[in-house]
């Protein structure tokens, strides 16, 4: 007896989404609690409505003397505990069945009212609202959505180090590592917009041309599309202002900052800003990046040199050709900030290189050519950190201890990502 009912109750919960793996967890979501509460409320409201129906069916509306007498008689009837215990449990509430029942009931009530009081309950015009001449007509608006479609190019740093001039592959540039950006494909945006718009009326149309949505829509439809675009922009709009600084930091000075190096507080920022006592600012830059885009900063010198000799043997006699390469020296920082808006952090992937060519560059003679064999002092670091937006962090580098040679290069990279609010596209 109880099994079918239990099964019916379970079916209701399944259809409402209140069972399954997520519901098995102890920590019920607020949305799950709200849904259970709504189910109980709907059941109460349904039962209230059905009580009126029962009263109507008995022909004894509230206030009627006969009903009052029947009620008084029932009130004075002794209560039998055994009867209450034997009473069968109420059937499980089925919102879909209840709704169907009430819809049918409403139609019947409305029909009877139209028959009893046609002046107060005239027939309802069920014409398609689309064909209603009084409905607002569709108007054309051009909505700029280029900001949602843009996929920025990566700005890869120049190669550094001696090997860089001899080979195309750079120190930072791992093969296949490319920014995917946050831009939508045009077709996907149109699909989403049509989905949000719902069924278009005969005078409505929506298409993408040249980074703009050409939307001929009625106001209600246009509002739905505008809402969708706002939702898309909220999760992916805006640029990132990335402040990149390079410090020469003494190990003792870093010791005081170590505990909060991943998210520097005001006192630590003030300590860095003050400088001195083991803190020296080598460079400071602001660079603007799209979310997920690789950008770089390079301040230094570039020089070409006779790096190698290659043999050309396409003719009968081999010929020697000089190979001229380029050395980039100075400070090169390449960074890719990726914003996690839900958690308010930017994951900043950074590569830093600080290099200096030792002068003079030694040479050696091969046949009739003077080969240059440069020597480069270099410090380079790669690091990734999850930095709270608006806060600074020391991501990595080599600290100065005083034990290294005077000419050794030491540097630590500091980053501070900030989200700059994007300019929403405007319809016109």
């Amino acid at each position: 007896m109880t099994r079918p009912r239990a099964r019916a109750a379970l079916t209701t919960l399944v259809l409402l989404g209140l069972t399954g793996p997520a519901a098995a967890q102890d920590d019920e979501l607020p949305e799950e609690a709200a849904l259970r509460q709504a189910l109980a409320g709907a059941q109460a409201r349904y039962e209230e409505a059905m009580r009126l129906v029962e009263a109507y069916g008995r022909g004894a509306p509230v206030g009627d003397a006969a009903a009052r007498a029947a009620g008084l008689e029932r009130l004075h009837t002794p209560v039998t505990p055994g009867r209450a215990r034997r009473r069968a449990p109420p059937p499980p509430f089925q919102p879909w069945a209840a709704r169907d029942e009430l819809v049918a009931l409403r139609e019947a009530v409305a029909a009877r009212l139209r028959a009893l009081a046609p002046e107060r309950h005239p027939p309802v015009d069920d014409d398609d609202p689309e064909d209603d001449a009084s409905a607002p007509r569709a108007t054309l608006r051009l909505i700029d959505v280029q900001d949602l479609l843009v996929t920025p190019e990566d700005h890869v740093a120049p190669n550094t180090g001696l090997g860089a001039g001899l080979d195309a592959s750079g120190a930072f540039d791992a093969a296949g590592e490319r920014t995917s950006g946050v831009g939508l494909e045009g077709d996907k945006l149109v699909e989403l917009a049509l989905d949000a718009a719902g069924r278009l009326a005969s005078d409505e149309a929506l298409e993408l041309r040249g980074g703009r949505l050409m939307a001929r829509l009625r106001p209600a439809t246009a509002a739905r599309v505008t809402h969708l675009l706002a939702e898309l922009r909220r999760g992916r709009g805006g640029l990132i202002d990335l402040e990149v600084r390079v410090y020469e930091l003494g190990a003792a000075a870093y010791e005081a900052l170590r505990e909060e190096a991943a998210a520097l507080g005001d006192a630590a920022e003030a300590r860095l800003a003050a400088g001195g006592d083991g803190v020296r600012l080598l460079a400071s830059h602001h660079v603007t990046a799209h979310d997920g885009q690789r950008v770089h900063v390079w301040r230094g010198r570039s020089r070409s040199y006779l790096a190698d000799i290659e043999v050309n043997q396409t003719g009968v006699v081999p010929v020697l050709n000089p190979v001229v390469a380029v050395i980039n020296e100075g400070l090169v920082v390449e960074a890719r900030p990726t914003v996690d808006r839900a958690r308010g952090v930017a994951v900043v992937d950074v590569s830093l290189s600080l290099s200096r060519v030792a002068d003079p560059v030694p040479t050696t003679k091969v046949v009739d050519l003077e080969l240059e064999l440069p020597r480069l002092r270099i410090a380079r670091t790669t690091a990734t950190g999850a930095v709270p937006l608006g806060r600074g962090a020391l991501l990595g580098g080599v600290l100065r201890t005083g034990a290294e040679p005077e000419e050794a290069l030491t540097c630590v990279v500091y980053v501070r990502p900030r989200l700059i609010a994007g300019q929403p596209g405007r319809g016109r």
Partner: protein
């Protein structure tokens, strides 16, 4: 609350008003009043049931790039003397696999999800039977595009929170290179042995105190941060180009023959390099631990000997090399003794003790 009172008592008031007036009316008017009251009550119940039986679906996008695209591993340059055995011309191109680097064939252990996997996880989190039209889900360029009920969205948010927490967890690594007096070095090694390789905060404080007091010397120090399971590196030192060898090419006719030398220019990298892959391991108690995979190399050029050949001068470098690869697991806030070695004058090496202190940030 007001809405609840209004929805509960308004139909009741209507019923009572209709009933009060009905006694003075004819039966038809009384029935109309009764039916109107019933209609109001039915409409109120239908409004509630519509919300349940026909839940509202809405669109939302979720940024899942941190789950789908992990920052790449960064491989340190080789500090080995370039040779046939170590990968000839391996130094070219800045990166290059060599004796220092992780094996090139080593599988990438990045924990990024495939888009299909993420989609399946989201479908299961909401409930597999909750995806009838108009519900839909798709991964597009790192974003999860979802049309679902408020409850479905809440479950997806919870799933993504659970997945993203470890994906954006970073590890800060502070590395110290020390020259220690033998008794302190011995104490450190014995303490580390007794504690499974771990240097507890008290021992680290003793080490720092010895440095401050001048009893020990900090010869190098570095800091690095990486996401869990990501490989990062630092390199400090020199790069020096030299002619390592010559290849000869010849050609000509029966009358003329020409032989030319093709110099092979190599780059010797020296100095200090450290490559680390930290992995956060959630222990049951005592907070997260960090599993470290560490490679350290220190190369010091000793001599560059120029040798005369018929085609020109070639150079043969000689370097001293310390190289170690090790693994350890330590609780955050503690340290690990990665390497300890005594140098000798014969081979030009020097004393070094390397201590790494990992700290989990962004929990």
């Amino acid at each position: 609350m007001n809405a609840l009172l209004r929805s509960t008592f308004a139909p009741l008031a209507l019923v009572l008003a209709a009933a009060a007036g009905a006694s003075a009316q004819d039966p038809a008017a009384r029935e109309v009043a009764e039916l109107e009251a019933m209609l109001a009550r039915v409409d109120a119940a239908l409004a509630d049931l519509d919300a349940l039986a026909r839940p509202r679906f809405s669109f939302a996008q979720y940024d899942a790039r941190h789950l789908l695209q992990r920052p790449p591993d960064r491989v340190a340059p080789s500090l080995w003397v370039p040779s046939e055995a170590a990968g000839f011309r391996a130094a070219r191109g800045g990166g290059g696999a060599g004796a220092f680097c992780f094996d090139s064939c080593e599988a990438d252990t990045g924990a990024a999800l495939e888009p299909d996997e993420l989609e399946q996880l989201a479908v299961r989190a909401v409930g597999e039977d909750a995806w009838d039209e108009p519900a839909c889900i798709e991964v597009h360029r790192g974003f999860l595009l979802v049309r679902q009920t408020p409850l479905g969205h809440a479950r997806i948010r919870r799933l993504l929170d659970d997945l993203a927490r470890p994906a954006t967890r970073a590890v800060q690594l502070d590395v110290g290179f020390y020259h220690l007096p033998p008794p302190l070095e011995r104490d450190l090694r014995e303490a580390a042995l007794a504690a499974g390789g771990v240097l507890d905060p008290a021992l680290l404080a003793r080490l720092d105190g010895a440095v401050r007091a001048g009893a020990a010397r900090l010869t190098g120090s570095a800091t690095l941060s990486a996401l869990s399971e990501q490989r990062v590196y630092l390199h400090q030192g020199d790069e020096r180009a030299y002619v390592a060898d010559y290849e000869r090419s010849s050609g000509g006719t029966g009358m003329v023959a020409e032989t030319v030398p093709d110099p092979i220019v190599e780059v010797l990298r020296a100095g200090l390099a450290l490559e680390v892959r930290p992995t956060v391991v959630d222990a049951d108690a005592g907070g997260p631990r960090v599993a470290l995979d560490v490679r350290f190399a220190r190369s010091t050029p000793l001599t560059f000997v120029d040798r005369q050949t018929p085609w020109g001068v070639l150079t043969t470098p000689r370097v001293s090399m310390d190289s170690v690869r090790t693994s350890a697991q330590v609780p955050g806030g503690a340290g690990v003794l990665v390497f300890a070695a005594r140098g000798t004058e014969d081979d030009g090496t020097s004393d070094v003790v390397i201590v790494v202190r990992p700290r989990v940030v962004g929990r």
